[in-house]
Symmetry: C2
Subunit: 357 residues, 2 copies
């Protein structure tokens, strides 16, 4: 059954960062208002939202009022506490659904889900103790990477282990949190698929982008990616398999390692994704509008690309380059309105058009 | 001197309609916040603005607080009362400048300004009384059109006179307001130039669009327009002449009639313009961002077009066609978030991409 949002309806968004900001703008294009729920003050999304609630995810009164004021709830941030989701879901629908969140909130659950679907992931083992880590390292071998099962992003909650002797430091780095050891994958490059599934079960993918990370943070995404036709098809079919299995509604980012043996799934993110920002200037309907369309029960855009794009993240002092970018007529600037520049903070991005598709 | 707006600065916008809404979104892309001043409640721009003030242009306390809270003031609406502008300008800069407003607020002042620049306008005469109208009709001839000198838009405050016998009805239609009689121009079609001038005096124009009106309201704008290379050049040079003479800062819409004898200026609008909405999906930097760039002291975009576009206004019940447009992957939808559908009300527009430029 398709639940088509009425004109002028309000979409509640959990999380008020740059993804919420760009979702809010996309919602406005389709005639919807947004209400942002965000614990931190002065959220970037608040500058372009109809209403903001500043409250913690433990504040039941605020959560109830938020849910009552909106027509549907979505999120830009997958680590919303379960208790908050339970309460919200008892009042208004949440899209994408809870299963997508449950799967992606825990790296082990996610990997098992992907393996059950017949997809390839890096070798992995659960690590709760130093003894678990020793065992996992002897099974998987070094180099490897220890990641907390929950709440990791942009390289946070991760420790590289180049040699078994580094195990104690790695355990200290993750502060004893339940973790997973992942074996290194011998990949040539990383790509991601920004995939969407509508309420009718239709799936639409944007062309895969090729990602380069620096210090664990996405640096650039380039379309078209270096892929054979067969790899491009594999990437899209694999993403569709994930979305269909989850009965997903919305946009998902699926990160893939390209190896000689085929595509290996690195991780999935049940939301619009940094590696999909290029769609803002490469497609008529971008990933943000695609997500809103799915959540609102609208038909999805076809994912077609009119231009080739290189997306560059502006991290910390990269914002000093804005005057240079502003002079380049082939560059679209997207700033996030963050009050302070900090090292490692995503301040904005630019999409450079490199030609017609 | 170039007054470059600081990152995260706030741009005050007089008027909260769809133009303010799309200006606000463009401002957010460059990292600016907006504060909307609008007498009517629930303004479309308010859904995507940081702050809204709901107050009349006679409310001096509200005007002062608004001006104090922003870094620069611009407008989406040229009929702001002079007393409000005087007060605001004593506190913060207004861009585009007062002269542009003074010229465009009065059709006679505007026509005289254009004629003094050596440009061609329709034959015209000031009409304050029935006797003036009889004299003007005998000089200019019928058919002609009587328009109020001030506050007219979208065909409002206008009366067509096909025959001198219709003069009394025309005077009644404009309710005796100071008016201008304009002779009909024998034109093949109408085009408009969306021109921008930066604080450094640089001028940048988008490719002219070809406009079709229905019942006095813009129906479609198509790019590229039917123009010879020489006409296209004339249109752009003529627009630049107007902006330079006014020492204009921002985007202006210049409507032109194409005749066998050359281009005739219909009217100018000192703001972003409905006939420039196609730039949202045809250019990397659209008219809204171009205006914000000028106001903020940034370099202007080069006006380059990557796609051919047909913009269609959605008036009143045209919104019933949204489900049809939503299925078309070549169509970008831009809704204005207006609460009620009314006949003649601009509810949104769609940009259909008709090919690569």
């Amino acid at each position: 059954m398709i639940d088509v949002l009425a004109p002028n309806a309000t979409i509640g968004i959990l999380g008020g960062g740059q993804l919420g900001r760009m979702l809010s703008v996309a919602a406005s294009r389709l005639g919807f208002k947004t209400h942002i729920f965000e614990p931190a003050a002065n959220p970037p999304a608040g500058h372009v939202a109809d209403v903001i609630t500043t409250a913690s995810y433990e504040d039941e009164i605020a959560l109830k009022a938020f849910a009552a004021s909106v027509d549907v709830i979505t999120y830009e941030f997958e680590n919303v506490p379960t208790s908050a989701l339970d309460l919200l879901e008892s009042i208004k629908p949440i899209r994408p659904n809870r299963r997508a969140l449950a799967v992606s909130q825990d790296r082990i659950t996610e990997k098992k889900f992907l393996v059950d679907l017949g997809l390839t992931v890096a070798p992995f083992a659960a690590v709760d103790t130093a003894a678990d880590l020793d065992k996992a390292l002897s099974d998987i071998g070094a180099p490897a990477i220890l990641k907390t099962r929950r709440f990791g992003y942009d390289g946070k909650g991760q420790a590289r282990i180049m040699d078994a002797a580094e195990a104690p430091k790695a355990i200290a780095d993750v502060a004893g949190a339940p973790s997973v050891l992942e074996g290194f994958v011998d990949f040539t490059h990383e790509v991601s698929v920004i995939a969407a599934r509508g309420q009718a079960g239709d799936v639409s993918c944007f062309d895969p982008g090729e990602n380069v990370h620096t210090n664990g943070i996405l640096h650039t995404t380039t379309v078209p990616a270096t892929l054979t036709g067969a790899q491009r098809m594999d990437a899209v079919l694999l993403a569709a398999k994930i979305l269909n299995e989850l009965e997903y509604v919305g946009v998902m980012g699926v990160e893939l390692f390209v190896t000689k043996q085929g595509l290996v799934v690195n991780e999935i993110a049940p939301r619009v994704h940094n590696s999909g920002h290029w769609t803002q200037n490469g497609c008529i309907i971008d990933q943000f509008e695609q997500h809103i369309r799915a959540v609102a029960g609208w038909p999805l855009g076809d994912g077609k690309r009119h231009s080739n794009v290189e997306m560059l993240n502006l991290i910390g002092n990269d914002v000093d380059r804005i005057p240079e970018f502003a002079k380049d007529g082939s560059v679209a600037i997207h700033m996030y309105g963050k009050a302070d520049v900090k090292p490692g903070r995503k301040m904005g991005h630019v999409n450079k058009i490199t030609g017609a598709a």
